[in-house]
Symmetry: C2
Subunit: 207 residues, 2 copies
């Protein structure tokens, strides 16, 4: 690819979005970041990796966040004391996301990366979803050993958590088509079909 | 194309969805239906074409619709007297949409066609949206001579009208990513980029 491209992927729980992102990165030969972001964020801050993991894609409301984020992002020495723990972790992650994107092409999953990078011309923002039955089966068979009922409950919980987190820190709607350049139903396209389509779009955009 | 494919397109006002659908149909050499549906619906019913045009993609609530639709769709001789005019027109259009899809590959714009045909294996449901500035410019420059302020007001009015209509007659969310197999931002892909991508997907699905 001649020009760099930053591909961000938001995903319904159980839709295969993580796997699709990983395969896209492998196929394009570019770095992939999902949980890897937490390790980087931990190494750049005074917080333990476990703190990032425990609070990953969570939000606990803090009125000071929205007014502070403009100041903080422009000033690495700004004081974080008045912000909630989640706000602080999100801002550290946002800085890491900016740094990663500055280095060149990559795939980033979740963590409002599309919103953090929204002003970049080389951004391709994607959302992956799937039919409920497929999501349930994927969770039961691939993610962990649990019953279908437990998988359905996890889908509701995780979607709500990701939606609340995204809507709060992005000021956009997580599940709205217009938030993204491209959304795909992985039940329709299949995992490999999604990977092929995203790679084709990325290649066209980066020539 | 070996297997038939029915492509439905919902679209934000001013997103270029109509033009994209028309070009896709031309490129694939298959029939295209947008306002053409109204002519067909008029010729199959006792209503004038102007009646369909005047009420196109409108909804006026009628509690009898949802309970009646199952009966009516299965029985062409059922009594329509208790339903609102919009409900009757929608049901006539739904029948026409089924008949069109039975004939083979085609592109259908709007009018809940994706919901009417939701159980068909050969359905590809698409939603086209665009950035607000591009929509305003398209309306000012291509759709009709009006000011930017008037175009912005029309965007709000038409999106609300289409959303209300779709959400009522489909029981799904018009602007939600998960309603569709594929959603595209025409500001990102361009009109020709959307056409190429949709045609590629259609060709892969119909071999």
């Amino acid at each position: 690819m001649k020009k760099s491209i930053v591909i961000t992927i938001n995903r319904q729980y159980g839709s295969g979005g993580h796997l699709i992102g990983k395969k896209v990165a492998e196929k394009l030969g570019i770095p992939f970041y999902d949980k890897e972001l937490l390790t980087l964020a931990a190494s750049e801050s005074g917080f333990a990796k476990e703190t990032f993991e425990h609070n990953d894609e969570h939000v606990r409301l803090s009125t000071s966040y929205l007014s502070a984020i403009g100041v903080i992002l422009g000033s690495p020495t700004a004081n974080l004391v008045d912000l909630s723990l989640n706000d602080q972790l999100q801002m550290i992650q946002s800085k890491v996301i900016e740094e990663i994107a500055n280095k060149g092409s990559c795939v980033i999953v979740g963590r409002c990366a599309d919103y953090v990078l929204r002003d970049r011309e080389n951004l391709l923002s994607i959302y992956i979803h799937a039919d409920d039955e497929d999501r349930t089966l994927r969770i039961v068979n691939e993610y962990q050993a649990c019953s279908e009922e437990e998988a359905e409950a996890m889908i509701k919980k995780m979607d709500k958590q990701r939606s609340n987190y995204y809507n709060f820190y992005s000021n956009q709607k997580w599940n709205s088509a217009k938030t993204y350049d491209l959304t795909l139903n992985s039940s329709y396209f299949g995992i490999e079909g999604c990977v092929d389509l995203i790679c084709e779009v990325a290649k066209r955009k980066s020539v």
